[in-house]
C-alpha cells in the first residue's frame, strides 16, 4: 500500500542525505519526495511517499525515528488527510489541438500560465491520481515536459504535526 509520511527534520546540512540514504541503505522505496523549511527556521518539513506492506512501513517509520535529525513524523495515510501535488506541464498547442488543450485544462480546473504560438504551459494541483489522469488525457496531444513537486500533505481536522 502507498503511504505518505511527513517528517519534521532538523534544518541542518546533511540531514536530508541521512533520510534519503536510509531509504537506499535499507532497500526501502521512495516514490516522491518533497522538502522545504517550515515557519520555524530550525525545522524542515519533508514529505515522502512510499510503497510497502505493514511490516515494511513499520520498519521505515522506526528507522526514520531513529535518525537523530528526525524530530517528529507522522504517517498521514493512517488517518484522514489532505494530499496535494503541483505539476507544471508543457503541452503542444497547435491548430485544432490548441482548443482541445484549453478545454481539458478547464475540465481539470488547471491553469494555463504561459503561452507561445505552439506551446501552452499548464499548472495543475491535486492529488497524485488527478495529476496522473491529466497526463493521460494530454498524452495523445503531445506532452513536451513535465515537472512535479512530489506530494505534500497535512492531516485533516485538529491534528497537528509540530514540536
Amino acid at each position: 500500500m502507498r503511504h505518505i509520511i511527513s517528517i519534521l527534520l532538523e534544518n541542518e546540512p546533511g540531514a536530508l542525505s541521512r533520510v534519503v540514504g536510509l531509504f537506499s541503505q535499507r532497500n526501502f522505496n521512495i516514490e516522491t519526495l518533497n522538502v522545504a523549511p517550515t515557519e520555524d527556521p530550525s525545522l524542515s518539513r519533508l514529505t515522502v511517499t512510499t510503497e510497502g506492506d505493514d511490516r515494511v512501513i513499520e520498519q521505515i517509520t522506526k528507522h526514520l525515528n531513529k535518525l537523530i535529525d528526525v524530530v517528529k513524523l507522522v504517517d498521514l495515510t493512517e488517518g484522514h488527510h489532505i494530499e496535494r501535488e503541483l505539476m507544471l506541464v508543457k503541452v503542444k498547442a497547435l491548430g485544432a489541438s490548441r482548443d482541445e488543450v484549453k478545454r481539458t485544462v478547464d475540465i481539470f480546473r488547471a491553469q494555463i500560465v504561459d503561452v507561445t504560438p505552439s506551446v501552452y504551459t499548464v499548472q495543475i494541483t491535486g492529488d497524485a491520481g488527478k495529476l496522473d489522469a491529466f497526463v493521460q488525457a494530454m498524452a495523445p496531444i503531445g506532452i513536451l515536459e513535465v515537472g512535479r513537486t512530489g506530494v505534500s500533505g497535512i492531516s485533516r481536522g485538529d491534528k497537528i504535526l509540530s514540536l
Binding site: 546533511g14 542525505s17 540514504g21 528507522h63 535529525d69
Partner: protein, 574 residues
C-alpha cells in the same frame, strides 16, 4: 572565563570527559590537535600503525570497560582507513567517538589534498555524525558525540573537524558542558509496565520456555539482574554470540549459545519452545536460520532498547521497548510471590533438554593422540584451563572464532570480545591490545588464525612501543579455515584461494619485533608451550600452533532450514 583554541578545547574536553586513552595516527589536518595533546599529559595517546587498528583497539577497550572508546585520525586516507573499524563498532552497537581531521573549510569540495567526505562515507555506519562549523561549538558537539555514543542503543559517532577550526591563533570561551540536550533524542529509560506484566504472565504459564539474550545485556550491564531472573524462574537460557558471558556459561541452566554454530541443545530448545523471551538480541540471520521456519510453536516476548530491532525479521507477540536492566528488574519484582501455573511442565522440559545434551556428550570432536597434530578445539580448552576461564578473550574471524566461542566458557560479561555482526578479520589483535593497555593486570588472550593475524600484524610495533603483553594464540591450519569449510560443503572441496601458500616464518617475524614466539607442531608440545606463554603476564608471547586443517566447525545449521536443522559432524545431521 578561559579562552582556548579549538585544538586546546579538544584536548581539554577529553580531560574533562575523563577520557584516559585515545588511539590515533597523526596527519596534516589533525596536527593542531596533536600539538594540543603534546602540551598536556592527562590524556594518553596510543600511536597505532594503521588507523583501522585504532578503531579496533578503542572498540576492544569499549567492550571490556563499557565506556566509549576514542579515536583520532587525520583526513582522507586516515579517515577512510578507520571505516572498517567504525562499521565493526556499528554492527555490534559499541560506543565510540571518532575524531577526524578535515581539510580547512575553504578547501572543502575542491578535491583538496587528503580530502574525503568522511561524514558522507560513514553515514550508513554511524549512529550519528557531526561536522564542526565554528570553533566555539566544539565543546558542545563533543559532549553530544559522547552522549549519543554511550546512551540508548550505543554506536559510533564521527566528528569531522576542518583544520581551521583548530587553528592556534583563534581562541574562544571554553566551558565544559556537563549536560547536553538533543530535542529529537530521548532514549527510553523504562519499558511499558502493561507489556512487562503481560510478559511475566506468559512466563508463568509457559511449559517450554527459553531465554534468548544478546549483547544488549552486556551493554546495559544487566547480567546480574538477568542471572537473578533466570535463577528465580529455573528456565533454560541460551545467548547469542554477542551475549556470551551475560549469563554464567558453567551454570547448569545455560545451554551455551545458539544459531549457525551454536550448541545442539540450544537450537533444539529454541525450535521446540513454546515461549521465547528475547532480551537485547536482534534475531540476526545467523541466529534464526530461515525465519519462515523459525520456532514454529513459540510465542515471542522481545525486549530491546531499539524499537527498530523489534519485529524486524521475526514478529514479536509482546514487544517491549526499554533498557534490558530496568525491564528485567521490573520482571523480578512482578514475580514476587507468584508461582508457575504448570509446575509439572518445567521438569519435563528439562528432561527433554537433558536428553539433547546427552545425545551430543563426548561427540563434539575427536581429540588428537600423542604425536599427532592438535585439534583447534583442544587448544581452546587447554587455554581455558590454564587461564582458569578468567581471561579477556578477543578473536579474529573464522573457524578459530567459533571454536573459541564453543570451548572457552565465560562466567562474566565483557570478557568475550569478538566482531559478531560485521565479522571483521583483523579485529582480534588490535582489540586485545586496546584491552590490555587499559586492563594491564588481567590476562588478555587473542585467538587468531594465520589469515586474520596477517591483516593487522603491524600492531606488533605498537605493542613494542607501549609494552603491551597480550598472548596471541595462532591456530595455524595453513588455510582460511571457514572459507575452506564452505568450499568442502558447497563447492565439492574446490579450495579457491583459501590456501595460504606463502606463510611467513611467524617465529622469525615475531622475534624481529623483539618478542617471544613459540612453535607447537604436535600434541605433546602443547602443555609446556602454554606454561611458557602464560608465565609472565606483562610479556607479549606469540604461540604458533599447527592445527588440523581438515577440522570443521559443528554443529552447523543447514541453509534455509529451521533452527533444529543442523549438520552435527561430517557424517551426521539432524
Amino acid at each position: 572565563m578561559e579562552l582556548l583554541s579549538g585544538a586546546d578545547m579538544i584536548a581539554r574536553f577529553l580531560q574533562d570527559e575523563g577520557v584516559e586513552r585515545i588511539y590515533g595516527y597523526p596527519g596534516g589536518a589533525a596536527l593542531h590537535i596533536y600539538d594540543a595533546l603534546f602540551r598536556q599529559d592527562k590524556v594518553k595517546h596510543i600511536l597505532v600503525r594503521h588507523e583501522q587498528a585504532a578503531t579496533h583497539a578503542a572498540d576492544g577497550y569499549a567492550r571490556a570497560s563499557g565506556k566509549p572508546g576514542t579515536v583520532l585520525v587525520t583526513s582522507g586516507p586516515g579517515a577512510t582507513n578507520a571505516v572498517t573499524g567504525i562499521a565493526t563498532a556499528y554492527m555490534d552497537s559499541i560506543p565510540m567517538v571518532v575524531l577526524c581531521g578535515q581539510v580547512a573549510s575553504h578547501l572543502i569540495g575542491e578535491d583538496a589534498f587528503q580530502e574525503t567526505d568522511i561524514v558522507g562515507v560513514t553515514r550508513p555506519i554511524v549512529k550519528h555524525s557531526f561536522a564542526i562549523k565554528h570553533p566555539s561549538e566544539i565543546p558542545e558537539v563533543l559532549k553530544k558525540a559522547y552522549y549519543l555514543a554511550a546512551t540508548g542503543r550505543p554506536g559510533p559517532v564521527v566528528v569531522d573537524i576542518p583544520k581551521d577550526m583548530t587553528a592556534p591563533t583563534e581562541r574562544y570561551e571554553y566551558v565544559y558542558p556537563k549536560k547536553v540536550k538533543i530535542r529529537s533524542y530521548n532514549p527510553v529509560t523504562r519499558g511499558h509496565s502493561g507489556q512487562i506484566k503481560k510478559a511475566v504472565d506468559m512466563m508463568l504459564k509457559a511449559r517450554r520456555p527459553v531465554f534468548y539474550t544478546g549483547g544488549g545485556i552486556v551493554t546495559s550491564g544487566a547480567s546480574e539482574n538477568l542471572t537473578a531472573l533466570v535463577k528465580r524462574l529455573g528456565f533454560p537460557i541460551t545467548t547469542t554470540l554477542m551475549g556470551i558471558g551475560s549469563y554464567p556459561q558453567t551454570d547448569e541452566q545455560s545451554l551455551g549459545w545458539l544459531g549457525m554454530h551454536g550448541s545442539y541443545e540450544s537450537n533444539m530448545a529454541m525450535h521446540h519452545a513454546d515461549l521465547i523471551i528475547a532480551i537485547g538480541a536482534r534475531f540476526d540471520d545467523r541466529v534464526t536460520n530461515n525465519t519462515s521456519k523459525f520456532c514454529p510453536t513459540a510465542k515471542i516476548v522481545h525486549v530491546d532498547i531499539d524499537p527498530s530491532s523489534i519485529s524486524k525479521t521475526v514478529r514479536a507477540d509482546v514487544p517491549i521497548v526499554g533498557p534490558a536492566d530496568s525491564v528485567i528488574n521490573e520482571m523480578i519484582s512482578l514475580l514476587q510471590g507468584r508461582e508457575m501455573a504448570n509446575a509439572e511442565a518445567l521438569p519435563e522440559w528439562w528432561t527433554t533438554i537433558d536428553g539433547w545434551r546427552a545425545e551430543r556428550e563426548g561427540k563434539l570432536y575427536e581429540p588428537s593422540q600423542p604425536g599427532e597434530r592438535l585439534k583447534p578445539q583442544e587448544v581452546i580448552e587447554a587455554v581455558y584451563h590454564i587461564t582458569r576461564g578468567e581471561a579477556f578473550v578477543t578473536t579474529d574471524v573464522g573457524q578459530h572464532q567459533m571454536f573459541a566461542a564453543q570451548y572457552y566458557k565465560f562466567d562474566k560479561p565483557n570478557r568475550w570480545i569478538t566482531s559478531g555482526g560485521l565479522g571483521t578479520m583483523g579485529f582480534g589483535f588490535p582489540a586485545a591490545m586496546g584491552v590490555k593497555q587499559n586492563f594491564p593486570d588481567d590476562v588478555v588472550v587473542c585467538f587468531t588464525g594465520e589469515g586474520s593475524f596477517q591483516m593487522m600484524m603491524q600492531e606488533l610495533s605498537t605493542c613494542k612501543q607501549f609494552g603491551t603483553g597480550v598472548k596471541i594464540i595462532n591456530l595455524n591450519n595453513g588455510t582460511l579455515g571457514m572459507v575452506r569449510q564452505w568450499q568442502d560443503l558447497n563447492y565439492k572441496s574446490r579450495h579457491a584461494h583459501s590456501y595460504v601458500e606463502s606463510l611467513p616464518d611467524f617465529q622469525k617475524l615475531i622475534e624481529a619485533y623483539g618478542f617471544t614466539a613459540l612453535k607447537v607442531e604436535h600434541h605433546d608440545e602443547l602443555d609446556a608451550a602454554l606454561e611458557r606463554t602464560f608465565a609472565d603476564n606483562d610479556e607479549l608471547v606469540f604461540l604458533d600452533i599447527d592445527v588440523d586443517p581438515r577440522e570443521h566447525v559443528y554443529p552447523m545449521q543447514v541453509p534455509l532450514g529451521a533452527m533444529r536443522d543442523m549438520l552435527l559432524s561430517k557424517t551426521e545431521r539432524t
